[in-house]
């Protein structure tokens, strides 16, 4: 199986080179955000106020890990369902986000925004939280610490495995993959 390696944060060229169905290993810095953090970021955007993190080129990971034991970097850390972030994603892309990692289907509005702003939607394997936690070398809270597991964390990842679901050209592996194997 062919695998592409990418370094986060991402450039437009890197985003455009990714196609639905590609298997990708990410290394570099990514940020976490779930429902509550998205809500806060969007509120700041609407007021025109500065964000606690610079979204330019960033990859956002939808995750709410289990509590880390004292000797661990992070607890079990697999993706959560992305659809809950659909309402916020076009705005995030407009403000510079280049990719998000989650699992499950996205709305048409998100797919359209990925094409408009040159972004990509990636899926990590849902339920592989133990394996994925081993690809995270560093984890620190950078904003909204009051949200606990839902705070924005800065993660340093190495060879973090994802599959491209929706690319910037309209490709969708959830549609194309099922079509290829249906009988």
């Amino acid at each position: 199986m062919e695998v592409k390696n990418i370094e986060a944060p991402l450039s437009d060229e890197e985003v455009l080179s990714l196609k639905a169905g590609d298997n990708v290993l990410i290394s570099g810095v990514i940020y976490t955000a779930r429902d509550a953090a998205h809500k806060k970021l969007i509120e700041l955007m609407e007021k025109g106020e500065p964000l606690p993190i610079d979204l330019q080129g960033q990859i956002i990971y939808y995750v709410g890990p289990t509590p880390a034991k004292p000797e661990q970097v992070i607890g079990s850390a697999g993706p959560t369902t992305s659809g809950r972030m659909d309402a916020y994603t076009p705005q995030m892309l407009k403000h510079g986000m280049k990719a998000c990692i989650g699992k499950g289907k996205r709305s048409q509005a998100v797919k359209d925004a990925l094409q408009e702003y040159k972004g990509v939607y990636l899926a990590a394997v849902g339920g592989a939280g133990a394996l994925l936690s081993k690809r995270i070398n560093k984890c620190e809270v950078v904003a909204y610490s009051e949200l606990g597991a839902e705070a924005i964390h800065r993660l340093e990842v190495e060879d973090f495995p994802v599959t491209v679901v929706n690319d910037a050209h309209g490709g969708d592996v959830y549609i194309e993959g099922a079509k290829a194997y249906a009988r």
């Binding site: 289990t66 369902t81 659809g83 081993k134 592996v173 099922a178």
Partner: protein, 281 residues
């Protein structure tokens, strides 16, 4: 009358909470391995490989299989000759859940009020508990931590008796197809048939507690399980919805007698981390 201290029940429950979230049952692991052998899609195969490796890492390094360590769901068969001392069954189970989830570094995913406050209870209580009073002096506890992503992809429909087998198959397959990648396939599909609106959903939930690879005892339903499983896998949705042969690992049906006017049906989906444990005290 056998006396049993509630604290003993709590200790068992606490251990079950941790075990279920760290060690995937051999039945599910075997089903994942069988699927890995059969899978035709390279990406699908890689997903299954990651899931099998994930189970190993979880066990060896004591990291929960999935970060969603679930709503704690229990089916309890309480022997009518057991007298619980020092607390009620409900208190004993909730105390065990609190201890297991806190000491086991499991995620607390329960909020107190579903609509307005949504404040985390902080210890993953309360559990969902179904109790049956049965003959004997034993307590049998079945436990499953139920993830939210797959639970959200579940449904109940009041079918007509005239819908028959075909109507039931269509209902299940169409529903699972619409869920697609969201419930973290490969999935386990619990199907309830019969009973009232509420009872049929409990049947679908109970179906998820049956060990994988164990067919329904009634030959007709065992064949129906296989038939639905084949139809689901023929959709091509595959592991994680990326395309492939393995959309579901199993279909389990639980039935209950039905009103003459009804044929209630329910689908409760579980992800591949189909965690369940049972103990007899």
């Amino acid at each position: 009358m056998r006396e049993l201290a509630a604290s003993i029940v709590s200790e068992h429950v606490a251990e079950m909470c941790q075990e279920a979230n760290l060690y995937l049952g051999d039945d599910v692991l075997q089903a994942l391995q069988n699927s890995y052998e059969r899978e035709e899609s390279p990406t699908g195969k890689e997903v299954l490989r990651q899931l099998i490796e994930n189970v190993e890492i979880a066990k060896n390094e004591q990291i929960p299989i999935c970060q969603d360590t679930g709503f704690a769901v229990f089916f309890v068969e309480l022997g009518q000759e057991v007298h619980l001392t020092g607390g009620t069954l409900k208190e004993a189970i909730n105390a065990g859940v609190k201890k297991g989830y806190t000491e086991g570094y499991l995620r607390k995913s329960i909020v107190d009020d579903p609509l307005y406050d949504r404040k985390n209870t902080g210890d993953n209580t309360p559990a969902v508990i179904y109790t049956d009073i049965v003959p004997g002096d034993k307590v049998k506890i079945y436990f499953a931590p139920k993830g939210g992503g797959s639970e959200n992809m579940s449904t109940v429909k009041m079918l007509k008796p005239a819908d028959g087998e075909e109507g039931l198959i269509d209902f299940v397959v169409e529903h699972v197809k619409a869920a697609g990648p969201n419930p973290c396939p490969p999935i386990v599909v619990g199907v309830g048939i019969g009973g009232t609106f509420d009872r049929v959903a409990v049947g679908a939930k109970k179906a998820l507690f049956r060990p994988l690879g164990q067919p329904h005892p009634d030959q007709r339903y065992a064949e129906l399980e296989q038939k639905i499983l084949n139809k689901i896998n023929d959709l091509g949705v595959g592991p994680q919805g990326f395309g492939g042969r393995t959309f579901a690992l199993a279909v389990h049906i639980e039935t209950y007698p039905s009103h003459i006017a009804s044929m209630a049906a329910a689908v409760n989906i579980n992800c591949h981390a189909s965690r369940h444990r049972e103990r007899v005290i």
